[in-house]
Symmetry: D4
Subunit: 248 residues, 8 copies
């Protein structure tokens, strides 16, 4: 549309029907939105194969199905986070290739398998109760085209369990550390590796954990230098971030 | 610059040195920043005479003086908020017409006196200790070109004092209510007028006032429907907002 | 009633049955409530046609029906906010013209359609999950007699979507910005328009969004000057406020 | 028991079987608990007729019934707060004179009707949604032997409604003010009476009311001098306190 | 003034110079403030001898002196709270009878000594570091015309110290309990007396006392029924409240 | 395993099949986890008979059963905390000796009864509503091999009830104090004993108890010197801690 | 005094001047404070040599000197915490044996050197910036008669530094862990020892450490079972607690 | 050292002076710290040239000088953060090559200039008042061997300023976004680039910014997927993290 009207304008200039002054004025008043999309979204157009992500929370099954259908027209991979089993079943009826990770509450439809870079993402978690975040991060990292190594139940109260995996951790390109309660694992891991550590506080805990605030504050105050933090339970965000780094 | 290069492009199109396809491509890749200023800032160019506002906090006297000098080149009115006496004295040496409101901590230089609309802004405050916010709001409203009526010491603990000014309050086009401690004045005034009420919590109080949080929460939860709220002690923001409404 | 007894008193004075001293004393002891309503509520009597608003939360269906019936006697328009489907159905049985906005959870009965002013209110929302607040604001604005333009899903993470609507936004008389999570949309819009912006934080989000607190604080600290804020999820309050401004 | 053994000891001293030194030593080592009850609980023994209060929250119906049975043996009045309908029904089967206030969630059994003092307690509430606290306070005050006047729906957003009841409020011996949202009613009433005002914040509200915190802070920061505060939704505590004052 | 003009109006009605209709209209439009003071402030006029209270915080010495001078014209007693030594010295130069309580930071000028009721107020404090609040409460209670008994350093960590004063505490008409840190004293005292207990949390403490919040929350959650609470460090408010009760 | 491979290595060195340089290199690259267990976990190997503890929250019945089965292979005692009745029933089908404490929500399987030290742990609780924490602490202390004395309903509002048990409290080796609401019991007990006091705030309360935060802050600010604190509702942690002390 | 009057009473009983009934009555009304001290403070009388502790914060030098003088009359050791240099100098002039720990801000006067038990207390700190708390704990532990081993700068970001001291840590009878920022050290140490761990959060840090709250929450949520916590910066309380345990 | 003693042990085994059993036992008891450094710190030994970082807060000038001297012996680059001018001057006297960034409060001594990778780090800041964090980040990134492009004053209230730099931002390998107040810049930038964005909230602001909490929460809740967050004002941590990524 915009391109078309610009084309007409240029033809009018060429044909002398429009003076340059008039043309300048018109271009200045062109709808902003048409002008700028080329530049702003230039980087998006390069990310072919990247999944479209649907945040399933507060969306009805019907809405999720509709959005999924629309997105699949563009041949995209699909990732629905915080998805209910019911939403999965509705999608599965339409797209039998859809997969559900019950713990991580993700639906994925992988139309194009992305070839991952040679390096890998390590996902560490303090306890088995953090698994729901681990799985969200795992599914996100996989569909974004990454090799992932998961190491669970390496909380700091039994620190020898962590050291048993030191080599795998230190050889990752980027490390995701998932922990609830006091979230100390992020600092300990941050002190053992020289790779970016993305810390995810979880809402695992009770009382003064305040739904993950204790772990969040702990991670933000980490005495280890290479640690950055995402929102409580945000396994998706951590993995998205890690994937960007893993693809650098 | 941008205009110049666009002009050249159009001339090249006109002269046939550039095909329309090539021209379209070039325009799409024009530096965004040059393109968009016309549209985005269109509304700004209409606000001639509006003061340039300098937030004085965390700025050195030297920085404030430099910014002031630069802005005065454009023949603007100047408002410096949260300004120290020292900053004022430095500016006053250069611009003897500069004025200082010690309580409100504002410096103003009024190069062009804006003619206010016929309506006025009412500024109410619960106590004399809220005066530092009243004065910041007052100076802001004045230099933005508004008539202002100030009514101070009308806290709800002696509600008859408020009623004594009911007519002035109800005839304003917009009302700013400034209160610390429990901030109840906003709700009471909100129930008495059918004009927009902009509430400013102040940090006046101690203990469980938590630096203005008690008043802030009180105002956000106002049971009166026409009340909106700005940040604690933000007399400037309230007056800026009120001025927009008063000029509608 | 009050007027009547006052009339009698004056007649008694006129007729000499009551001394001036006695009359003075009596007037001083007149029930306060009768005396003052004339003045205090003067502005209310001008607001004919304005809806009576019922806050449905923590009210039983029976209570809501009773209040509605009582208010309809006065030929008022009715707006029930935070209303359950059950409450709607009960009212609908009595008043078939009642309408329910399921997303916004509002019941409206429009006995008299108010003719709106020529200007309009723009309601912007960052995401589709904020729609429940959008709809509450929309229904409120409509029944208060306003033209409204809704623009949804213009969150700052894809800012070009916002710019596509710039003209509609900038031409509104007042703009309502509804956003959860980090609430950044308010600041961005506040920087693009010179109209009053009323920001509504929503409880959309999780973890460190703390039920809308993150968005609330973000909006209160907006670096854009013309932004004021209402309570979390308070679409009604924002629209009520906007309506006052739109009718100025 | 203790008295008995003391008696024996004194007899032994009298009879010369026990030296004074030995007696002194023995008294010093008497079980503390037996010694002190006389003094500490002296005031309790004077409060005959006062109800025994059972906090019903987190207690099973069975537990509440058992405690009630045990207490009724002492011919006491009974007040169960935060009681479920189920608990009431179980008690009602055993004690048909038991009464249930559904809104206030109280069960009362009045074995002895206390004659109230001539003065009365005024209970004010900002809105009808605060009624659950009003009723808890009301039942508490009644069974403690007080005359009570209830005035509901006098929130500050329509302050003339409050003034209509000024006389009743000012003639009370003590005033309970119950309000949620911004809790401003406490300050306004505190400025209108010279009686002790006990403020009860309620959890009525949403968003930044934080379950009653906004009202609580507002009341703690009241600019009116005679206001003290109890816990959020604590109608029982306010009435207990008011009853003590009303009986002074 | 108001009375005078009303008188004239009535005379005009009597003399037939003013029709009853016109008189009614005029009365309705009488300045509200003149009308209502009789009623609203009726209780104030009875409180002859009550001190005028000046909150000294954020007021300059000059302002405090001016307000004091104005108030003394009305032959009132004066109480300045949160007053600096400098403010005292300035007032002392003008009124040699002014007294300063350095710990409590109060200035008092007692023009008329009020005769206290036969009952007394007990002021208890947990530690010597709470003395600044004790003294503010003491001076307030004294100038409001009360007998006061002070008992300091009876914190719960050495509970026998408290019991040593049990009789004095139990015989008071109202008890003020002042405590910082964990504020447990209020609950213990509340369980020992059947008089109203007004609890004052103090900002004494460090770390997780959060400037008195720990004590405040502790007192609001007191398991003893007769305890109400005022703001952190608000010795004045507690004493004002206690004085009202002591004069009932 | 590790010992075995080290042994082989040393034999190879001894037999000359491995040079010292090679051996050094190999030892340096030995899996860390094997190296360090001797030292780090030395203290664990001494704790034979100690139960394995399973935190049941957020674990499915199936997971709990599986972990229990695995642990029982090692002849350990089992303690499952925060366990549902359903989880108990599943375990009970497999291990009829399993016991369930419904109030404390613990499952215990005691394969080896530990002989307790001669001293005992005293568990005090303010009210019957704190019993769920008392029972968790009790079961933990018992299976860890401790004699325990429970004293419930000794809240500070009736302090004579506490004194009745003074001897039992003062003769304990370590005291656990469990209290919700204002948590004052910890300070009072801390002032009466010269044994370590471990305070457990509970989430019992409402309004400004903020789910146990009031009690937590109260206990952290205890004016008694020998009090330390664990997380809200953490009966397990308190008892574990007390058991360590009781076994010293 | 009390003993004397009791003696007299017993003599009167013995001599027949007082009937047993009369004597019983009199004893019941004896001043409580005299009666109970024997029992309540029995344990205190056993703690000969224990220092008297003066909390120096908010006390003037004069007050500290006076209290010190009074306490020294009883031949006690003295510990002043949070003491200024000025306070020390004033005390030093009177008692040249007084010592000052500048970092820990403690004054100590050791009249009787207590012989410590054979076991020791280990004090660990994450960083050198935590030294002010370490020293307060150290001085407290020393004057209470304990051997102490200090290990500083063993934060979890370089966890090998901690392991270098494992033997000293594991052989202590009780371990104090002092850490600011994210406070993770407490969990790591708690997982390595089977001794009671007393965690002290410090206010070291900035931003989201919120003056020690991050470390406090982290420690309260420790996934290691044997960790209990004291107030932020409360080195004294931790050492007092540890000393009780070390003397068990 | 450790290697040496291990060598000796192996020689003794080889020479038959030590049995394998004895050798095993000895290895098990080797000082842990010597054993493990090879593994744990392997990655550190690769980071030759990396600066030693000294956190200057709460350290005396003397301490900073001493640590600096010790570290320079190892030929390291030095970075002191949060350093006072006084500390700089003391270091500058000893090491004239030391440089001070007054705004960023950093001291740097660059013994070895690290050659940066070809990619660069972009540092964006919302306002000039955020410069103190920008400079800390800048100095950190530079001494860690990175090319850096700084873009300041691109706050979202004037979003066209940001777009003017879009190309520089999108071509960076990693972007640091520094913003106070509402911190919205992080989300806007996160939506414009496909590189990792590290957000640094600053304490710039007042009132409800709560020392940077508003910006922190805003950034943690960013609706843009690639954003991770560090502590408030933590320019060092952001740059350290960015440097790791830039060197990947």
């Amino acid at each position: 549309m915009c391109v078309h009207s610009l084309e007409k304008l240029l033809e009018a200039v060429k044909g002398g029907e429009l003076s340059i002054e008039e043309a300048l004025l018109k271009i200045k008043h062109y709808p902003f939105e048409d002008m700028e999309f080329a530049k702003i979204d230039h980087h998006r157009s390069l990310r072919v194969g990247y999944p479209e992500v649907i945040y399933g929370e507060r969306k009805t099954t019907e809405q999720i199905v509709q959005i999924t259908q629309k997105l699949l027209d563009k041949e995209n991979n699909i990732l629905v986070t915080r998805a209910s089993l019911e939403a999965y079943e509705a999608i599965h009826r339409l797209y039998p290739e859809a997969k559900y990770n019950e713990l991580g509450r993700t639906i994925t439809i992988e139309k194009e398998v992305l070839s991952p870079p040679p390096s890998y993402i390590a996902i560490l978690a303090a306890g088995t109760s953090d698994l729901y975040v681990v799985e969200e991060a795992y599914e996100t990292a996989k569909i974004l085209g990454n090799d992932v190594k998961k190491i669970v139940d390496v909380g700091v109260a039994g620190i020898h369990r962590l050291f048993a995996h030191l080599e795998v951790i230190q050889n990752a390109k980027v490390v995701i550390v998932i922990a609830g309660m006091e979230g100390a694992l992020a600092s300990v891991v941050g002190g053992l590796v020289d790779k970016p550590v993305i810390a995810v506080p979880t809402s695992v805990g009770y009382g003064a954990s305040f739904g993950g605030v204790a772990a969040l504050l702990s991670m933000l105050n980490s005495c280890a230098s290479g640690v950055s933090v995402v929102n409580i339970d945000n396994g998706f965000g951590a993995a998205y971030n890690a994937s960007i780094i893993n693809h650098l």
